[in-house]
């Protein structure tokens, strides 16, 4: 078993540092409820935030850390070249239509629909884990974090259907 994501964040401390280190793991990390909570607590230890005294930069960092963690877990079973395309789309939604169009050309409609189905199912599984996190600041970050995946997955589906 490799390093935990909480330890990885403690070592890297910034979003870009964490993202770079996490991507190198190529999906080989544990992302169970306890791992998610530990990451959240580590983030709050380094970037405190309270309901009564919000730090917006810390809040946005929290969402970004959660999002890259969710994404890398969601993509863990994809081949590397395909992972690159989906990372591009999740971080820049204006790229969804051109990238999906090219993927359909190169891999075929059924293959791309298959990728969508895996992402949608993995999103559902991760949401079930988030539901188990106790109410509080850590859960709020994960709820806010995964919210964007629902939107992006919807846009992916639309783009896939346009290429039917």
């Amino acid at each position: 078993m490799t390093i935990t994501i909480a330890e990885l964040f403690k070592q890297n401390r910034t979003f870009e540092g964490y993202k770079s280190a996490l991507v190198k793991l190529n999906g080989d990390f544990s992302f169970e409820v306890d791992d998610m909570i530990d990451l959240g607590n580590q983030y709050l230890e380094l970037y405190p935030d309270t309901y009564s005294n919000r730090n917006r930069d810390h809040v946005q960092l929290g969402y970004q850390v959660v999002r890259i963690s969710i994404l890398e877990n969601m993509l863990k079973d994809f081949e590397s070249s395909v992972k690159t395309f989906f990372r591009e789309m999740f971080f820049n939604i204006s790229r969804i239509e051109p990238v999906i169009g090219n993927l359909v050309k190169n891999k075929g409609f059924d293959a791309v629909l298959g990728y969508y189905d895996i992402l949608a199912e993995n999103n559902r599984k991760i949401k079930l884990k988030i539901d188990q996190i106790p109410i509080g600041m850590v859960k709020e970050r994960y709820v806010g974090g995964i919210t964007n995946f629902y939107n992006v997955i919807y846009l992916l589906k639309q783009a896939v259907e346009k290429n039917r």
């Binding site: 939604i93 992006v152 639309q158």
Partner: protein, 124 residues
């Protein structure tokens, strides 16, 4: 052709704003975004939207309620929906009507449900 209905989305998360705008615009709406409660109030005054989607926790943990209260001083009719990530336990303790909202949309939001709620609120 009828003019597109205008939606004002207020949220301090730029990723959410961008993707919500893409979803709503893709469904025929014209979406204006604002990244804070104060920006949202400015956008409301200058843009006269048909419906407002407003996050709760922004500059302050209850910023959404402040925005709704301000808008309701001028307009008691415009549909305003709260986007809440607080959680079911807290959401069930508040009466959205008392705070000026027509309803609460719990995050994470299913985009098909969001579009459906918006269309129903605008009688489309």
């Amino acid at each position: 052709m009828a003019e597109a209905k205008k939606i004002l989305a207020i949220d301090d998360d730029p990723d959410i704003l961008e993707s919500v705008k893409a979803i709503l615009d893709g469904n025929g709406f014209e979406t204006v975004t604002a990244a804070s409660g104060s920006e949202g109030l400015d956008a409301y005054k200058s843009g006269k939207p048909d419906l407002i989607l407003c996050d709760m926790m922004m500059e302050h943990v209850d910023e959404g309620t402040k925005v709704a209260a301000k808008i309701r001083e001028e307009d008691t009719q415009i549909p305003i929906y709260l986007l809440s990530s607080i959680g079911d336990a807290t959401a069930s303790n508040i009466n959205p009507g008392d705070l000026g909202f027509n309803g609460v949309i719990q995050k994470p939001v299913d985009p098909d449900s969001l579009v459906s709620i918006v269309k129903k609120a605008l009688k489309m």
